[in-house]
Structure formats: C-alpha cells, structure tokens
C-alpha cells in the first residue's frame, strides 16, 4: 500500500491514486493490486496501470498482478479527506460531500479554490478531463476546475 501511495494520478499529479480511491485494495493470494476506473472511458486508466506496474517493479513486487474491478462503481465518495485537501491546494474545487444523486443538478454553492468566494458559476459541465467541470469565480473572476460529484 505504501508503494501505491507514491503513484500519483497522471492528470492531477498531486494526489495519489490511493487518496483518489482508485486503489480498491490488495490481495495476498495470489498477490494482486485491485484498481477501479473513475470513468469508464477515462484515458488515464491505462497510464495509471503502467505507473502502478513500474512502481511495483521498482519496489521488487514484480510478481504482483494488477486487476481491474468495476463493482462497486467508483464515486467521488471514495476520495479521502487528504485527497480533497490536496485537490483544493492544487486549485481544483473538490467534490462536495456525497456522490451525485439521480437528479444530478448539483447547484450547491462551490467555493472558489483561489479566493474562497461562494459567488461562482458553472461554465461548462464538461472540462479538461472526464472528472472535471469548468467553473468561474464571479468575485476574483478566475476560472477554475471543479471535480464533479459523481
């Protein structure tokens, strides 16, 4: 597990894949690391697998397999408190509270990661990666990424 904590997300290189909730756990017999994709089409999934592979190899765990598990599906609830704090420090508004509800309209006030103002608006539901939306702060006028509740 401590080896995996050194593997950072390729798209958000300040948060480890453990803190993002991508690592589901490790199994001892036969040895395997269980990982789960955030979004089904997330292109980072392959990059993450390669990064895990090389981290394991370097730490001398060459025989450990990497298995993908889909169930239960990943949601933003899997992101740790530390992960949320790291996202915020990196300039990405972390998802607020629980996973998205079927209604999905998450119009709850989102704090700007730069100035902290709640006077913000959504610009686009889709952003630079599948997991983020584009927002804009109406106070400091800076655009920012928001990790979507999912």
């Amino acid at each position: 597990m401590s080896v995996l904590e050194t593997v950072l997300d390729p798209e958000i290189p300040v948060v480890s894949i453990v803190d993002l909730g991508i690592v589901r756990g490790v199994r001892s017999d036969p040895p395997a690391v269980l990982i789960t994709p955030t979004y089904t089409g997330c292109p980072a999934t392959l990059a993450i697998e390669m990064a895990v592979r090389s981290a394991l190899d370097e730490a001398g765990f060459g025989g450990v397999a990497i298995e993908t598990v889909l169930s239960p599906p990943w949601s933003t609830e899997w992101i740790s408190e530390r992960g949320r704090a790291q996202l915020l420090a990196y300039g990405i508004a972390p998802p607020s509270g629980g996973a998205a509800k079927p209604g999905l309209r998450d119009h709850a006030a989102v704090a700007c990661p730069r100035c902290g103002s709640h006077h913000t608006e959504e610009v686009s539901r889709f952003g630079s990666t599948p997991c983020k939306a584009q927002w804009r702060c109406l106070n400091c006028l800076e655009p920012f990424d928001r990790f979507k509740c999912h």
Partner: protein, 252 residues
C-alpha cells in the same frame, strides 16, 4: 442451460450501440459550435467508447474464440455489426446531433437502470458504472433540445427537423426479438418493451418545455440488430477501421 450465443449477441448489441455513437460523436471534435459543446461531445464519445470496450470485452470472453474488444471493434465487417440504426446516422447539423443524443441517451438511461439488476454480473456492473455518466448525457442533450426548440426561429426550425428525422429510429431501441426475450426471461436482459412508456413520458416533458410539437410516429425503420444497416455504417467503419486493418499489429 445458459445460452452463450444469445449472451454474446446481446453484449455485441450493447457494445456496438455505444461504439458507433462514440465514433460518430468523435467527428465533432474540433468542429462543434462552441468550445463548451466541443468538450461535452468529446466527453460523451469517450464515455461511450469506454462502455463499448467493456461490453465488447464481455462479448469476446463469452464467445471464447480469443477475440478481445479491439478485435471485435476493428476486425468485423459491416454485416456483423448489431447496433441500432439511430446511432450510425450522420451527424447532420448540431440540432440533428442533439436530437439523436437526446433520444438515445434517454433510452440508454432507462436500459442501464434496468440492467443493473441483471442476473449476469458482468453486464450489471458495467451498467451500474455507466449509468451515472449517461445521466449527464441525457440531461445535457435535453437542455439543448429546450434551448434550441425555445430559441430563435432558425434554431427552432432545425430542432423540429432534427427530431422529425430521428423519430423513425426510436422504435428499434425498444424492439424485442427471440434472443432478447429468452435472455429477459432468464433475468439477464432488460425487456426493452417495458421501458417505452417511461421514455415517452420523459421525451414528452422535454418537448413540452421546448415548446416543440410531438411528431407523429412514422413507419419505424428496423434491421440493425440483424445486420441490415444503412450505407452510412460502411463509411464510418472504413474510417474507424482503416489503421488497424492496414497495419494489423500496430501498437501505441
């Protein structure tokens, strides 16, 4: 006894719907009317291709002939594709693309909601994963139907035309045949015919908000599930399959 042929067929249908629509939406990349829409449609395409990879992976495993998702996507001819006709239709203008997306995603949310209870765990877990993404698609597409329908005279005309054109392909998304009836009886497939009333209610509500008239249902166009496709699919596959077929062992 479990019928692996039927399950293979069903997984192909699910995977091909997502694959072909994902490929179509990819054509918008860099061409959408505004940046926000460009990002949205590219994200939809990505989600759909992710679903296709998983469903076709199941199909290949069930078939047991060593074909993986890539093999099924890139080395199958047009007659072997099992997607519905709606998804292979050309993008047309933006309103047509939105009409197609709205009808498809609204139906797909209902289908995946049902599929999460499938007796086949591999399908159930893909559906549970993907349904959260597809809800975004349905919601964004509905927003645009309303914005264009209740917009200018020009946008409204185009939205009416878009819905009108794609309306004929709706029935096929709810078509049941012997294969799916058998799987539905076993609790593996969703009985698509039971989803129709909910679909109609949702579509009617959005159309009402968009101040758009409901078109009459024309004679439905069917055949995709049996491999009877429009000529558009062949052209799409020619583009999509060119590289892996020309350089069969190409890797990234």
């Amino acid at each position: 006894m479990r019928d692996d042929n039927a399950l293979f067929e069903y997984a192909l249908r699910l995977g091909d719907d997502s694959l072909i629509l994902g490929q179509r939406l990819g054509e918008w990349c860099g061409h959408a009317p505004v940046l926000e829409v460009d990002l949205s449609l590219a994200n939809f395409a990505l989600d759909l291709i992710g679903q296709a990879t998983l469903f076709l992976g199941v199909a290949g495993a069930v078939e047991g002939k060593g074909r993986d998702a890539d093999r099924l996507a890139f080395h199958r001819d047009v007659l072997a594709f099992r997607n519905c006709l709606l998804v292979e239709q050309p993008n047309g203008d933006f309103a047509q693309t939105i009409a197609r997306q709205f009808l498809f995603s609204t139906a797909q949310v209902a289908l995946f909601d049902g599929l999460t209870a499938s007796a086949e765990p591999r399908l159930a877990e893909i559906a549970a994963k993907a349904v959260k993404e597809v809800r975004y698609h349905a919601e964004l597409a509905a927003d645009w139907v309303i914005r264009l329908g209740d917009g200018t005279e020009e946008s409204r005309t185009r939205m009416v035309d878009g819905i009108d054109w794609f309306w004929r392909f709706v029935d096929e998304m709810f078509e049941m045949d012997a294969t799916e009836r058998k799987l539905a009886a076993e609790g593996i497939a969703v009985d698509r015919s039971t989803l129709r009333a909910g679909f109609d209610a949702q579509v009617n509500a959005v159309m009402h908000e968009a101040t758009l008239p409901l078109p009459e249902y024309p004679r439905p166009v069917l055949g995709g599930r049996r491999g009877h496709h429009s000529e558009h699919l062949g052209h799409l596959l020619a583009t999509m399959q060119f590289l892996p077929r020309t350089y069969p062992n190409a890797v990234w």
